[in-house]
């Protein structure tokens, strides 16, 4: 048995050992991706459906490339332009896709918990590509994988997650993942964007971003998710940028060089300035590169858990 789970719904359900197995496998896929022939025949018997009920650039392309580099067959579905607008339910939509002999489903949905609901109703393995404000497990895995590349073992390392903690599924998955790997985590941002009782997850809260930066070795800066904020939580973007945005002066005032990460898409000049995002401390594009290897690893490791039909 390779992973303790049949689906990748959230990091919350994974054992630390699962995360290490995914990393070890991704190390090998990363080497495959650096070769001239960036493809292996492993999943030529597998069909994967990418079912996206919410917009995505990176995650969707990354999953599709991962599937293709594993030689899987791929079908893409997006809610806009589909029969969802005619009132078809989630389970019906997915079951109809599965009826066409699809083995795995990669799903993004705006409703938190949608992949768990689906897992109770279908047999195929499900990979959560982001559900509402809940989890985005492959992003957390690729973030931790990128940190591990920079720092080695993450046990005892100091990671700050900065920005819109409240609405970010990346934040929650990152917290679960980093804690399982033994890292120390601080979340930082304005009080209105940090959920109450988040300390119960074993993280510390810091409202002064400069203090968080001075403490950490890695700062994972998150996007302000205006589309999910249905009431004003700070006065203006300019004010947010002034008090909580990461800029070059802040980094230079530190007596050390920290690693800067961002899961994208970036609001340049809001949570992070362009010179930081494009600077030499930034590993934002390494994260994107690692995303394909991580997703190949997850798809490969979950592809085994199927009921064999003889």
């Amino acid at each position: 048995m390779s992973l303790s789970v049949k689906h990748l719904l959230g990091i919350k359900e994974l054992q630390p050992q699962d995360i290490h197995t995914i990393f070890r496998t991704a190390d090998n896929f990363k080497k495959v991706l650096q070769r001239q022939i960036k493809k292996v025949p492993t999943l030529r018997d597998t069909t994967v459906a990418n079912v996206f009920f919410e917009n995505s650039t990176r995650t969707r392309i990354s999953f599709e490339l991962a599937e293709k580099r594993l030689s899987a067959d791929v079908v893409n579905f997006s809610a806009s332009g589909s029969s969802v607008s005619k009132g078809e339910t989630l389970v019906d939509t997915v079951n109809n896709i599965l009826a066409m002999k699809v083995d795995m489903v990669v799903m993004r949905h705006s409703a938190s918990g949608a992949p768990w609901f689906l897992a109770n109703h279908i047999d195929a393995s499900i990979i959560n590509a982001g559900d509402g404000i809940n989890e985005h497990p492959t992003q957390a895995l690729l973030d931790a994988f990128s940190m591990r590349e920079k720092l080695g073992d993450l046990k005892g390392r100091k990671i700050a997650i900065i920005g819109d903690i409240m609405h970010s599924r990346v934040a929650l998955s990152n917290i679960f993942c980093l804690k399982k790997l033994g890292a120390e985590v601080v979340v930082a941002g304005p009080p209105t964007l940090i959920p109450k009782h988040i300390q119960d997850l074993g993280v510390k809260v810091e409202y002064d971003v400069k203090k968080a930066l001075a403490w950490c070795e890695v700062a994972n800066v998150l996007r302000i998710q205006l589309e999910r904020q249905n009431k004003p939580l700070f006065s203006t973007l300019r004010e947010y940028a002034m008090f909580y945005g990461i800029n070059k002066d802040m980094l230079q005032s530190l007596k050390k060089e920290i690693v800067i990460m961002h899961p994208g898409p970036i609001n340049r000049g809001v949570e992070i300035s362009s010179d930081v995002a494009d600077g030499k401390q930034s590993i934002i594009l390494d994260q994107v590169e690692n995303g394909v290897a991580i997703r190949m690893a997850v798809i490969y490791l979950l592809s085994g858990k199927r009921d064999l039909v003889e």
């Binding site: 048995m1 197995t21 496998t25 090998n28 001239q36 492993t42 018997d45 592809s303 085994g304």
Partner: protein, 175 residues
């Protein structure tokens, strides 16, 4: 249980295999050796070190190949977690010697050749094995360098012990 090769026999066999390689490839200027993960590595490590002793050449290209992603039974059992592939040189136009400990059905070697070709087009590929379980082949694959040949039935197992991990050098046949 029957001993096929004891400590002395195994080491004499390794010497012979290494010398046979030198006989055919002289100074290894255009030859690379590649061990197959996981168990072939113990043999290829020994062969690589013997080759360095015999030729006096320290920079013989030596790599390790994991075939997990090329197996033909990916979804017939548990999913395998890969070991490392380390091929830090080009194999394009070069002679490759694949090394594994036991040759049985030939399926591992089939996978290894597929994996190898994705790194480039070698000029030729040869196969070295310590134990050849002839008559149990499921694919038309034959070794070029053989340490020891045994006739076995499918229920028997050949186990190779290496001093580095098992505290002894020995090959045994288990019924």
């Amino acid at each position: 249980m029957k001993t096929l090769l004891d400590h002395n026999q195994l080491n004499i066999t390794l010497q012979r295999l290494a010398h046979q390689l030198v006989e055919n490839h002289l100074n290894f200027s255009n030859t690379v050796i590649i061990g197959i993960q996981p168990r072939g590595i113990w043999l290829s490590d020994r062969i690589a070190s013997l080759l360095r002793d015999i030729t006096g050449k320290e920079d013989i290209d030596y790599g390790k190949l994991d075939i997990t992603f090329y197996r033909d039974d990916v979804h017939q059992g548990d999913i395998h977690v890969p070991k490392n592939t380390e091929i830090e040189f080009s194999i394009e136009g070069r002679h490759v010697v694949l090394i594994d400990d036991v040759l049985h059905t030939g399926r591992t070697i089939r996978s290894a050749m597929d994996a190898l070709i994705d790194f480039g087009r070698p000029s030729s590929v040869e196969l070295m094995v310590l134990i050849d379980r002839r008559f149990s082949r499921e694919l038309p694959i034959q070794p070029d360098y053989i340490g020891h040949t045994v006739d076995t039935i499918i229920t028997q197992k050949v186990k190779v012990y290496w001093a580095e991990k098992d505290k002894k050098d020995e090959v045994v046949l288990i019924d």
